[in-house]
């Protein structure tokens, strides 16, 4: 878990992480909001292993999440905005295609 530093300025941006409302500092990343919300993990790999942000600087891609409905966003590189919705990324990105008729 992470908490705001005791002398931090009040957090001003409200986002939703898996349905939980959480306030974070302006300038924070969506990945930081996930950690502030107390989530242990943010995504599941294609083979079902749970993962959380590792590097926070855009190198490892472990922070993939669905942000405002768009899947596979690198959440440590996305700055929070008021009202942003962040959800877990489960498995690889899915593309909706019409079923192929044989």
């Amino acid at each position: 878990m992470f908490r705001p530093r005791s002398e931090a300025a009040p957090a001003t941006v409200t986002v939703s992480v898996e349905g939980r409302r959480v306030r974070v500092a302006a300038g924070a990343s969506a990945a930081a909001a996930v950690l502030a919300a107390g989530l242990d993990d943010i995504r599941e790999t294609a083979t079902g292993s749970r993962r959380a942000p590792y590097c926070m600087i855009g190198v490892c891609w472990e922070c993939l999440a669905e942000i405002d409905g768009v899947p596979s966003r690198q959440s440590c590189m996305v700055e929070v905005a008021e009202g942003m919705t962040i959800r877990r990324q489960i498995g690889p990105r899915r593309v909706d295609v019409a079923p192929i008729r044989r």
């Binding site: 878990m1 992470f2 908490r3 705001p4 530093r5 005791s6 002398e7 931090a8 300025a9 957090a11 974070v24 500092a25 300038g27 924070a28 990343s29 930081a32 909001a33 950690l35 502030a36 242990d40 993990d41 790999t45 083979t47 292993s49 749970r50 993962r51 959380a52 942000p53 590792y54 590097c55 926070m56 600087i57 855009g58 190198v59 490892c60 891609w61 472990e62 993939l64 596979s72 440590c76 590189m77 700055e79």
Partner: protein
């Protein structure tokens, strides 16, 4: 198409210093950076920091350079990533869903360092992050870890981060220092030869004193580090010890971020003191490809102060190449910069010897340790591929999918090379380099389509 004279990639100390100096010398300069504010990782979000920031004076010192950039004539493009660079100096950029091509007569890559990946057993468990990640959370979100916090590894950043957490009133419970006693002895000889810069040494000693005062337990000579837990981190273990943990932050030093230079197939060399690949550069930062230079930690690990100076040298060279100053002018203006650079570098040998990572960190001993986090490829699978005849990382990739995930080998490539080297009984420096390809960062088809329309 926007045509600039000098394009700089990366707004850390090297890139900012280069861009500012180039603009002062009259070059039409564009500075591209994927973050929203200048500073790079070391001065990340420094403009927002209060004077009482727990990150300390060396961090706040970055404000001066950032302010100079804001006041300069440099065209600064934040939140923009370079996803392809062609050898003719055309830069393919993406900002959100917008793509754009910019041309430049000289290009400077100042893409900085990344933390060396630390492939220990259990490092994919949620709860295990890098020490740099803890710093980034403090810098950008004012967040600190709670519960039982363990910092493990080696390098100046380990103690710096610990002292920053102490100042943020969130001291870690335990530091596991993996520096081998033999390295402490080796570095003493470097100390005698190098005459280190007192300021840097004092900052390091101050951090260690702060940790002592805070009563944090420190264990030295730690080996066999591993993270344990079912689904998430629960315990941290090492040879002869174990402790419950909610967070494990790992660090084994910095390595250059070579994604772009490797894709361009510039000349690289193996640094056997730092155990990493770096660029082959002339004294001005010029690479093996005319018109493309590299400055700062993205070329070779120098530290922030030296990075800044190397950026200024690259700017002077660009100004000469583009006819703004003469050769003798360039050399004269470079003199004080080179003198300062020499002073900064005096400590380098000392640090390199002290913090040379243990071979076990380069190539994990246990076969079931994950190496490629994206595709879940283990060390054993890579050793198997080498036994089956894969001579280099590019073949291992085809055999195992290692490096085919979204990180494009940024995390695993060095570890794969070390595993191949170990299996073949060679130095990692003798192993073929992996070749990442554009797009350096994934872009959407929509963004690409926008580019086609704009062209």
């Amino acid at each position: 198409m926007r045509a600039a004279e000098f394009a700089v990639i990366g707004a850390g100390p090297a890139g900012m210093a280069a861009a500012i100096r180039a603009a002062e010398l009259g070059l039409d300069t564009i500075l591209i950076d994927d973050q929203r504010a200048p500073g790079g990782q070391i001065y990340r979000a420094v403009e927002r920091a209060g004077a009482d920031s727990p990150l300390g004076p060396d961090y706040l010192a970055g404000r001066e350079l950032v302010a100079a950039l804001r006041a300069s004539a440099v065209e600064y493009r934040p939140a923009t990533s370079l996803w392809h660079l062609d050898p003719e100096g055309r830069l393919f950029l993406a900002a959100g869903e917008r793509c754009e091509v910019v041309s430049a007569r000289r290009v400077l890559l100042a893409t900085g360092a990344i933390e060396r990946p630390v492939p220990i057993p259990g490092w994919t468990l949620p709860g295990v992050m890098t020490v740099g990640a803890a710093q980034t959370l403090l810098k950008t979100a004012d967040l600190v870890p709670t519960g039982r916090v363990v910092l493990a590894g080696q390098g100046p950043l380990l103690y710096l981060a610990a002292s920053q957490l102490v100042r943020a009133a969130a001291p870690p419970g335990l530091i596991l220092d993996t520096t081998a006693p033999a390295d402490y002895r080796r570095c003493l000889s470097a100390l005698r030869r190098g005459r280190p810069r007192p300021r840097m040494l004092l900052a390091g000693l101050a951090a260690i004193a702060a940790i002592k005062r805070a009563g944090i337990q420190v264990r030295h000579g730690v080996r066999g580090l591993r993270a344990l837990g079912a689904g998430a981190l629960e315990r941290v273990a090492w040879e002869g010890g174990e402790t419950g943990a909610d967070h494990l932050f790992v660090h084994q030093g910095l390595i250059p971020n070579l994604q772009i230079s490797l894709a361009l197939q510039l000349r690289h060399e193996w640094n056997d003191d730092q155990l990493c690949w770096q660029l082959v550069l002339d004294p001005w930062g010029q690479t093996s490809l005319p018109g493309i230079a590299v400055a700062g930690d993205g070329g070779r690990i120098l530290g922030a102060a030296a990075a800044r100076l190397s950026g200024e040298l690259a700017a002077l060279d660009a100004a000469m190449m583009l006819g703004r100053i003469t050769g003798p002018d360039r050399d004269r203006q470079a003199e004080p910069i080179r003198a300062a650079l020499g002073r900064e570098q005096a400590l380098r040998g000392f640090l390199d010897r002290l913090y040379r990572p243990a071979p076990a960190i380069l190539a994990p001993a246990e076969d079931d340790t994950i190496v490629c986090r994206c595709e879940n490829v283990s060390a054993g699978a890579i050793r198997r591929a080498v036994r089956q005849g894969a001579p280099g990382p590019n073949q291992v990739k085809a055999f195992t999918r290692c490096g085919m995930g979204p990180c494009q080998g940024r995390i695993c490539a060095g570890v794969v090379a070390a595993l191949i080297a170990e299996s073949l009984g060679r130095s990692p420096g003798q192993i073929e380099l992996w070749r990442p390809r554009a797009p350096y960062k994934p872009i959407t088809v929509a963004a690409l389509a926008n580019l086609a329309v704009a062209e």
